[in-house]
């Protein structure tokens, strides 16, 4: 059954809530005239429940099956975390209540900060950034602040490896830095010599992802850090892949100055179809003075206080309203406490083990881009499809019909037709074996030359391949009552 847009289900005067009569008092709206009809559709509650239930059924999700999106870390989202975040003592607290009435909330923020600092070996934490990319922004701002504090205005460049997430160059550029790309070596790591050659007094910092987006650990990382520091620059680490090493390696021990952490990747806050995220940033001693407001401090008498104004210190100002993504903090802390130090170490172990197992089981039928071991994800390129007429995209879409979400495609850019697979630690061996079986069969089928099968995929989904070009050429970004889309009639 097709589900129409909610606007197409309108019945005037119908309403999904019962509100009391408006108290008869005068208006104090001033000179502004009350607005006219808005155009919102009227539905009763049963229709609304059904609409969203049906829409949800058109989604794939972790709860439905394996979601091997490389670099996205789609792991199990425990319901305990949802329950905790909904405790009235967390969910029903206003951000501007007097501090005396929110001591537990501040304690939770302090405790989350302590876990993050301990796990990374870092000196300071900010919980303010709303998402990973926002955390990157925060980190680069701190680097800039540190250089500014030293009066060092000549540093105009940020170095970024070619394999980096798009957010890295976008962040550096947004902060006014020129972005210089560092090439990769044949084994998928940063080219140390090329890096050294670029380092100089005009470089503010290096942004590096480790494990990198090829799923590989940067072996030379300590040497890299030393070189960066020797050049007077700071070392930013993109923490997107922290899941691979959490509990086993402390980024501070690698010489990293600042790193953001995606709570939804490593600490299992739900992705929610695209957010909300949360991107705390941890800082080594070198950058600790440059933590933005707000942050929590504890008085000698044990009471927690919130520092909300930057004042005259080196800390820079606010990055968003209020104090951060509190709901995500509760979930992440519940996850950390559930695993503990021992469990988080096991998380890294199992994430890496699962990825290497896939690499081992697939390497004879697909083409691994680099030699293993990999970390939490394994990267293939499309050499195994050469001459078959089947593309990386085709493989991904055909995988959908096998009951799996596709892997990440065409990223990282350093290999051709990339297929980046991240199983995460919450998949069972049985689930991986099913996935291997499906993927091996598809590889086999591709070699057999059944191009039409692939190009027609997916077939078992609510929609078949969608025309993204048409969507971009003449964008239809909202429903309008006047122009009924032609295709509706065709349904």
């Amino acid at each position: 059954i097709e589900e129409p847009l909610i606007f197409e289900q309108d019945s005037a005067g119908r309403c999904g809530v019962d509100l009391p009569e408006v108290p008869a008092v005068g208006s104090r709206l001033g000179a502004v005239k009350p607005r006219g009809r808005i155009g919102l559709p009227g539905l009763a509650e049963p229709q609304v429940v059904r609409h969203y239930t049906r829409l949800s059924q058109k989604n794939y999700a972790i709860d439905s099956g394996l979601y091997p999106l490389g670099s996205c870390t789609m792991k199990h989202n425990p319901r305990l975390n949802e329950k905790m975040a909904r405790l009235p003592g967390f969910a029903d607290v206003h951000p501007l209540q007097p501090e005396s009435t929110v001591q537990g909330a501040l304690e939770l923020m302090a405790e989350l900060g302590r876990w993050l600092a301990t796990l990374t070996g870092m000196a300071a934490v900010t919980l303010a950034p709303a998402a990973g990319a926002h955390g990157e922004m925060c980190g680069i701002m701190a680097i800039r602040s540190a250089h500014d504090a030293k009066g060092d205005k000549g540093r105009t460049k940020i170095l970024v490896p070619e394999s980096a997430h798009g957010t890295n160059p976008a962040t550096a550029a947004a902060c006014g830095y020129a972005v210089e790309a560092i090439p990769a070596t044949e084994d998928g790591r940063v080219d140390l010599e090329a890096l050294k050659a670029k380092l100089g007094p005009d470089v503010a910092g290096l942004m590096l992802t480790n494990p990198n987006t090829c799923g590989l650990f940067e072996r030379d990382i300590i040497t890299i850090a030393e070189a960066v520091h020797a050049a007077g620059a700071y070392f930013y680490c993109d923490g997107a892949n922290f899941n691979a090493i959490v509990g086993r390696v402390r980024p501070a021990d690698l010489g990293i100055d600042v790193m953001h952490i995606n709570l939804h990747k490593t600490f299992s806050t739900p992705h929610g179809g695209g957010g909300p995220g949360s991107g705390p940033v941890v800082f080594a001693e070198s950058l600790a003075p440059f933590v933005p407001v707000p942050y929590v401090v504890q008085d000698k008498d044990g009471a927690f206080r919130l520092v909300e104004q930057a004042g005259d210190g080196p800390a820079f100002g606010r990055m968003k309203a209020f104090h951060g993504q509190m709901g995500m903090f509760v979930r992440a802390l519940a996850y950390m406490m559930s695993h503990g130090a021992d469990g988080l170490r096991q998380v890294a172990n199992d994430a890496v083990l699962n990825a290497n197992y896939l690499l081992a089981r697939l390497q004879d039928v697909m083409t691994p881009s680099f030699e293993g071991p990999c970390m939490h994800e394994c990267l293939f390129d499309d050499r195994f499809l050469k001459g078959t007429g089947v593309t990386t995209l085709d493989i991904a879409k055909a995988l959908i019909d096998e009951g799996f979400h596709p892997m990440t495609m065409y990223f990282p850019l350093v290999v051709h037709g990339a297929l980046l697979i991240e199983p995460t630690e919450t998949e069972s061996k049985a689930s991986l074996d099913q996935f291997v079986t499906a993927l091996r069969a598809l590889a086999e089928r591709a070699r057999s030359g059944d191009v039409a099968y692939f190009q027609g995929a997916p077939r078992l989904t609510p929609r078949r391949r969608l025309d993204e070009t048409a969507a971009a050429r003449k964008p239809v970004l909202r429903w309008s009552p006047a122009v009924e889309p032609e295709t509706v009639a065709a349904e």
Binding site: V25, G274, G275
Partner: protein, 446 residues
């Protein structure tokens, strides 16, 4: 370890398939000096659900839930009644545990929700197009300014003194690091301000808020025309989305960009986050917009479907040339917003706004009757400012000890100054007895 499905037997057989003797061997690329030999010290080990529940419930128990007492806080976050349906639907695994809908064939649910959300936001704000949400209202405001800079190729933003200080600060932080100029007007709790005199040929935009942070309802129609004449964009910020049920929408006042906070619909207070930023623009500005956009298209069989579109603006394609570094949106909060608004519909949303206004009028009358209290506002929606004979911060603390959450001191928002001003909000969740309790307690503490 209840979330980890591998058994020791699994691990052994998988290591064998990989051909390594131990999992440590898989970490051989990590410099030896940085490898930890055991669990990190200083943290507890794994815990059962019951223990975690106890520990976190104990922390939650140290907070005073706003709903457990008469509560009148606003200033950018509002306590509204959220129908039970909203949270039920939001928690469905297919919404909660899905990723960004990059694979449209298996994400039509999320995509159609976003398309509907974009339409709802467009309708509410009176604008042509909205995106699929931003982090929150404050970051939406900063992004709006940066977008205005791009569109006008100018570098100076004029910020009203009635703009929420967090929004102002978020914007000036970006200004400092990203490199543009901001003219910040002083707060004018009792009167107007002459924004236009600050607009010159370098000015990319003027940022105003409606109702403003003190609660005043403004008409920016004339300002919009004047900006247009000077080649600057008018950015209108809204922190209380419910006000859009009653007030002239920014689009009708000539706004070029609207940046708003959507928390009031569908989203709990959550001690400040996650919330959902609304971002809407005029048609001609679409390709300069930050954030995700969902568009309509057709599938291979010609059926209507939805995809993320115009992603050439975005960082994952355009990298350092992206319109913004924003990557995630606030998808689940947008879903909650959208469900709540769908339940309300035209009739419910309008009525809700009317009730909110009426409650605030009732409250204002009750507080005005308290000796020493003066209502500052000539106009307001569901929030207004009162002038007290004592520092508001002290009054609020004294009220809290009497079990009343009595508003937000202006000094807390502005970091000092305006000490005698208290910003007070009322919503449909406040009963008349709540208000009486507030007025009585206020009389006691003054």
């Amino acid at each position: 370890m209840r979330y980890l499905p591998l058994t020791e037997a699994d691990r052994r057989s998988m290591l064998e398939a990989i051909g390594v003797p131990s999992v440590d061997e898989l970490f051989r690329d990590v410099p030896e000096a940085a490898r930890l030999s055991g669990p990190i010290e200083g943290l507890s080990n794994h815990m059962g659900e019951l223990e975690v529940d106890r520990a976190l419930s104990a922390m939650a128990g140290k907070n005073l839930p706003a709903g457990s007492v008469p509560s009148f806080l606003g200033a950018g976050a509002y306590r509204h009644h959220i129908p039970a349906t909203v949270d039920h639907l939001v928690q469905r695994g297919e919404f909660l545990t899905a990723y960004t809908p990059y694979q449209p064939e298996v994400s039509q649910g999320t995509l159609q929700v976003l398309f509907e959300f974009q339409t709802q936001v467009s309708l509410l704000t009176g604008m042509d197009v909205a995106n699929a949400s931003m982090y929150d209202g404050a970051t939406a405001c900063a992004e709006a300014v940066m977008m205005a800079n791009r569109v006008t190729r100018r570098k100076k933003a004029v910020l009203s003194g009635g703009l929420h200080p967090h929004y102002r600060d978020t914007t000036t932080t970006d200004a400092r690091f990203i490199g543009f100029e901001t003219v910040v007007m002083p707060p004018a709790p009792t009167g107007g301000e002459d924004l236009l005199s600050e607009v010159d040929g370098d000015t990319s935009c003027v940022v105003v808020q409606n109702p403003d942070v003190f609660g005043h309802v403004r008409d920016y129609t004339e300002l919009g025309k004047a900006c247009q004449a000077k080649g600057a964009l008018l950015i209108v910020v809204v922190t209380e989305a419910v006000s859009l049920g009653l007030l002239t929408p920014p689009g009708e006042m000539g706004a070029d960009i609207v940046a708003a906070e959507g928390q009031s619909l569908g989203n709990a207070l959550n001690f400040g986050g996650p919330y959902v930023g609304l971002f809407a623009v005029k048609e001609k500005l679409v390709r300069q917009m930050p954030g995700r956009l969902c568009g309509q298209t057709v599938d291979a069989d010609g059926r209507r479907g939805f995809v993320l579109t115009l992603s050439t603006r975005e960082q994952h394609i355009r990298r350092e040339k992206a319109t913004s570094n924003i990557c995630t949106n606030s998808g689940l909060c947008a879903l909650a917003f959208s469900i709540h608004l769908s339940l309300l519909g035209e009739e419910g949303f309008t009525r809700l706004a009317e009730i909110n206004h009426a409650k605030a009028v009732q409250l204002a009358d009750k507080l005005a009757a308290v000796k020493g209290v003066e209502i500052v506002n000539g106009s307001f929606f569901n929030e207004f400012t009162v002038k007290l004979p004592k520092p508001a911060a002290e009054v609020v603390e004294a009220l809290a000890q009497r079990g009343i959450l009595g508003g937000v001191p202006a000094s807390r928002l502005f970091g000092g100054g305006l000490d005698d001003l208290l910003i007070v909000a009322a919503t449909e969740t406040n009963t008349e007895s709540d208000m009486d309790a507030f007025a009585t307690a206020l009389a006691e503490v003054l």
